[in-house]
């Protein structure tokens, strides 16, 4: 199995825009494995535990600093890590997918897992694009996944419903939340991770066609108008919904 993970900033913070106007100021931010990618690592570990065998490679694209997240995945229980070394992480999902597909093509993986999306860029494109480039069957945003006898069954949450799909291995699956809570690395895991292989493979990125022109903080809502306390405030609320907001 291979699991592709991304290094992202912790979202529980107040972001500032960097001086270049096109990125987030990283000073003081904490970084971790993107939420959904963490679930994907956990899913791989659980499949290996159920099957009683299996080798797990974690892959991350970016500068050397992404080794922190690769080491964390190794400490959770992955066997080996590959850093696809670039000087930055591009925004264009196709550029990333091409680099990943090249790296994964000869790996003979039965299952390639991704998080459903990176929590920072929120594109949800790299997993299915990589699958297309590798010509592998793909399930996106799986909230349940069962693997047996070379086949898989997955559940996907829809708006007001869900769907079940079957697929053969090898395949690419992107993981939604709710499927597995990622384990915390044990002390033994952290010590062991230092001895596990981490291969650094420089890759050349293609030319992007999706680029960031600018980033800004959303306009603060001018809300904060408290109409009153308790049921007594309801008539004023209804009046405003009718006359001002015009939604009633």
């Amino acid at each position: 199995m291979a699991v592709c993970i991304k290094r992202v900033a912790d979202m529980e913070t107040r972001f500032r825009i960097a001086a270049d106007g096109r990125s987030v100021d990283e000073a003081g931010l904490k970084f971790d494995i993107s939420d959904f990618d963490g679930y994907a690592v956990e899913v791989a570990l659980q499949i290996r535990e159920r099957e009683g065998a299996g080798d797990i490679t974690v892959v991350s694209l970016g500068p050397d600093i992404v080794q922190e997240q690769l080491r964390k995945a190794l400490s959770m229980g992955a066997d080996r890590a590959v850093q696809l070394k670039t000087d930055h992480i591009p925004f264009d999902g196709l550029v990333i997918a091409r680099a990943l597909a090249d790296a994964l093509r000869d790996g003979a993986y039965d299952l390639i897992l991704f998080g459903r999306m990176a929590i920072d860029s929120s594109n949800q494109t790299v997993g299915p694009m990589t699958a297309e480039l590798l010509d592998l069957p793909c399930i996106t945003a799986a909230s349940k996944l069962e693997i047996a006898n070379g086949r898989g069954t997955a559940r996907r949450e829809l708006e007001g419903g869900a769907e079940l799909l079957g697929f053969p291995l090898p395949a690419v699956v992107t993981i939604d939340e709710g499927i597995a809570r990622p384990r915390l690395p044990s002390l033994k895991g952290i010590m062991g991770a230092k001895k596990k292989p981490l291969e650094v493979r420089p890759v050349a990125l293609g030319e992007p066609h999706l680029t960031v022109k600018s980033m800004e903080l959303p306009a603060e809502r001018t809300g904060g108008r408290i109409l009153g306390e308790g049921p007594a405030a309801v008539p004023e609320l209804v009046r405003l919904l009718q006359t001002e907001a015009k939604v009633l």
């Binding site: 929590i119 997993g127 949450e157 809300g223 405030a233």
Partner: protein
Amino acid sequence: MANVFAFAETRGGALRKVALEAVTAARQMADATGGGEVHALLIGAPGVASQAERLGQHGADVVIVVEHPALAMYSPEVAAATAAERVHNGAYRAAVFSASAQGKDLAPRVAAKLGVSMAADVTAFELSGDAVVVKHPVNTGKVIATLALTGAPAILTLRPGALQAAEHARSARVENAAPALDPAAARVVPQELITGNNAKLDLGEAPVIVSGGRGLRAPENFALLENLAAAFGNAAVGATRAVTDDGWRPHSDQIGQTGRLVSPDLYIACGISGAIQHLAGMRTSRTIVAINKDREAPIFKLADYGIVGDVLEVVPVLTDAVKKAKQH
């Protein structure tokens, strides 16, 4: 002048609201190029062609209808192959999909098949020279990125509710076509569609959302929100992650960064303090009302109108008031 492609999403043989939004967006884009045509792709089981007329009413000049008995459910590989073939042959300036569960699955496959980049979960777009410039919320909605997408076709997924579906009366020409991939040859096989209560409005489609958090205190108290939603008549009931994690409400009702991203005309947050992850899912609602006991709750900073009080006391009174207002 250039033509624009739109993917018309269906479920159970009926168009979803996002399909009309995608066609509306494609119409705007085609008009912005100086008046090209909008070609909508409609895929489903035999009979789905009956939906073509509504696409025309929203601005489609041509509806490409692909009917096949094995396509009652969305088939990712058949839809991707068919859309990619059409987009490739049509030489479109842009191809608009929905940033729905289906569209987010489909559009990246199509983009990769065509070898073009795409912009996802777009809340606004404009043509600017040889680029399409889009807005896309990142970092759980706390930062808005302005992106430039170059190359043609420009593939994008449009966030549900980002624009209002608009009438654009014209009668579309219907063109019948075969799927580009035989459904029997697809590796990923749809097995079952599970739908909730069909009588209920979906969160993505409802103009009004009544949403509840831990402040409801017990799962049975969600009946109060169901009553308020019924009083509006066009409302759906949502919930916070805390509540869905505890099993009070189904996972599919969760509104937030990791659940549904919604933009209704009116969002009524009941007993919701306003955790960042929840706000990320509803902050683009047009009007926000908050009812919460804690005057310091972050939700009040976002809300247009707030009432400090116990939801169990306020909501029934509001329900009666809404019923009266609706009678007039």
